[in-house]
Amino acid sequence: MHADPTANEQPASLTHLNDADLLALLHQPDQRRAAFEVLFTRHYAAVWRVLYHLCASPDEAEDLLQETFLTLYQHPPQLHHAHALVGWLCRVALNHGYNRMRGQRRRQQREAQSYADPTSYTATLPDPATVVLRREEREQVRRALLRLPERQSRILLLRYGGLHYAEIAATLEIAPSSVGTLLARAERAFLAQYRPLAEAGLEPSAEPAAKDTTPRRSLI
């Protein structure tokens, strides 16, 4: 089946409303579902693009996407700007995503500790020629992202996910005028992490996690 919004019975009466109006309808029982679906349809692709490179697999991205919109559905935010919702959604999505990554990283560290000699672990990996190159590259990109301070990887995910500076600023709760500076710094740091990885190929990630500077939010 093709993506066809009309196939999903979206009430045309709501699709012209802006995000703020739709958010208000989330508190009205008889309109809640319809309003939610319009918001989902409007924003899911943007959230997906922001999440995608953080995730090890599309399945993971899909889980996080659902988690994000479930949060919207359960706890709709009070937003004062008509265009602030994308930022809010991306922030929730990345919070969910980083919480998950932290869990995975702790697991990986535990597992890595059991390998006394890291080179022997590397030696057990399949012949690089048999590994799908694209997947390997994607994993290296992800690894480089996760080695950055969270603030830096977040801004990269947001920018390359297609958000404008104003939306990035809203998501990260920073001044719009500082986006360019932070972005340039994050880009430089990312390439510095990525290049050695790309040259060395995959290796076990046993190094300590980048310091977590953002407050944790509870995950439901």
């Binding site: 599309p58 996407l65 479930l70 360019g180 340039a184």
Partner: protein, 381 residues
């Protein structure tokens, strides 16, 4: 010439961001300043490289993701709930009450019957499982064909037992206790609790089940018949297996239910059942029978049976190609996650795992994600 713009301003300029006046000023400056031109070129090169590495990902089809989303929130969208906004969470919490009891009963039952999920397999094999003192779980995949085969046999469970499993003591009803310390005092072992929850917990209930003793006597002839029907000829049922009753003892199990806004979870924890076997019964032989009944090839079953410490291993059969069963890891030990996709509860999970001779079963209901379930389990200390 005006002072050089900072890196951030240059970067924003490349993205056509910033106010128009600044954009024009930067453009004018770049025409005159070779240093800034070089800096802007370097920034642009950097951005292009990253754009290649972080390409915009095509989103999944709209109808697909919307359908999934609807399923997830479906039970929160019941018309009667939608019509009573002020009590949006109340009906849900109410509906948890019977669910909770059923869950607790199901959990206890599952533990007693060897955690088998499939009725036909259960009918054939669950009592065999009791014979093994549980310390490890071995997950044995069963193919669809084998499940169908076992189902089609319609083998009478009675034929397998001279006396079917029965509770022989008179266990008291589960006793409510105030907290984990009280539960531990009653159960006789340290009681663990989750240290994280999906949301605020508004109600906690703790119960300790009574010690349960049970007994059954295997019909060795019936078991042989079953093997014959299944065309398994390479294992023999030991004569002594059915000679005397097998007795077992289940230590108290602690059931803790945590209820909060739109979720409910029950953690059951206990110790492996202890069983007394008739003299002369070879556990390895029984394990082999089990593996063969589940459809494993003779050589594979023999090799596996020989390598397993049957004194401490529970066989856990699961359908190989079913999607709602998934092997997971909880604090470094293997576990099994079962997703229940019922119509009334689109998101219910059962997660089983072990730690030493303790076993745990976490059941969740409500708006809890799969990964959250794993996180909750990992937080049990």
């Amino acid at each position: 010439m005006k002072p050089c713009p900072d890196t951030g301003t240059l970067r924003a300029y490349l993205d056509h961001e910033g106010d128009p006046a600044t954009q024009q000023a930067v453009a004018a400056h770049l025409e005159q300043c070779a240093t800034c031109r070089a800096a802007a070129t370097a920034l642009a090169a950097q951005a292009v490289q990253i754009a290649v590495l972080l390409p915009a990902a095509p989103a999944p089809p709209h109808d697909l993701v919307l359908r999934q989303m609807r399923t997830i929130i479906a039970h929160d969208l019941e018309p009667e709930q939608v019509r009573t906004p002020t009590r949006r969470t109340a009906p849900m919490n109410r509906s948890f009450a019977p669910m909770r009891r059923i869950a607790a009963a199901a959990v206890a039952l599952l533990m007693l019957t060897g955690l088998l999920l499939l009725p036909p397999v259960q009918a054939l094999a669950d009592q065999l499982l009791q014979i093994f003192r549980v310390q490890q779980v071995l997950f044995v995949p069963i193919s669809d064909e084998r499940i169908a085969e076992l189902k089609n046999l319609e083998f009478e469970q009675d034929a397998l037992f001279i006396s079917p499993p029965e509770v022989t003591n008179n266990p008291a009803d589960p006793a409510p206790v105030a907290d984990a310390a009280a539960a531990a005092a009653l159960a006789g072992y340290a009681v663990r609790e989750p240290t994280s929850f999906p949301a605020n917990v508004t109600e906690t209930e703790l119960f300790v089940t009574d010690r349960t003793e049970f007994a059954f006597q295997v019909n060795a002839d019936g078991m042989r018949e079953l093997l014959t029907v299944l065309n398994i000829t390479d294992v023999t049922v030991p004569e002594t297996l059915g000679a005397s009753p097998i007795t077992g003892r289940m230590q108290p199990t602690v059931l803790a239910t945590y209820t909060g806004d739109e979720f409910s979870m029950t953690l059951a924890q206990g110790r492996s059942p202890e069983l007394s076997l008739p003299d002369g019964v070879d556990l390895q032989q029984l394990g082999m029978i089990m593996l063969r009944v589940l459809g494993m090839e003779p050589n594979q079953a023999r090799a596996l049976a020989a390598t397993i410490d049957w004194n401490s291993t529970l066989l856990f059969p699961f359908p190989a190609d079913i999607q709602n069963l998934q092997q997971v890891t909880v604090n470094g030990t293997p576990g099994l996650l079962v997703t229940a996709d019922g119509e009334t509860s689109p998101r219910a999970y059962h997660l089983y795992w072990q730690d030493g001779d303790s076993f745990f079963m976490l059941h969740t209901e409500g708006l809890i994600m799969r990964d959250t379930v794993l996180g909750l389990a990992a937080s049990v200390r």
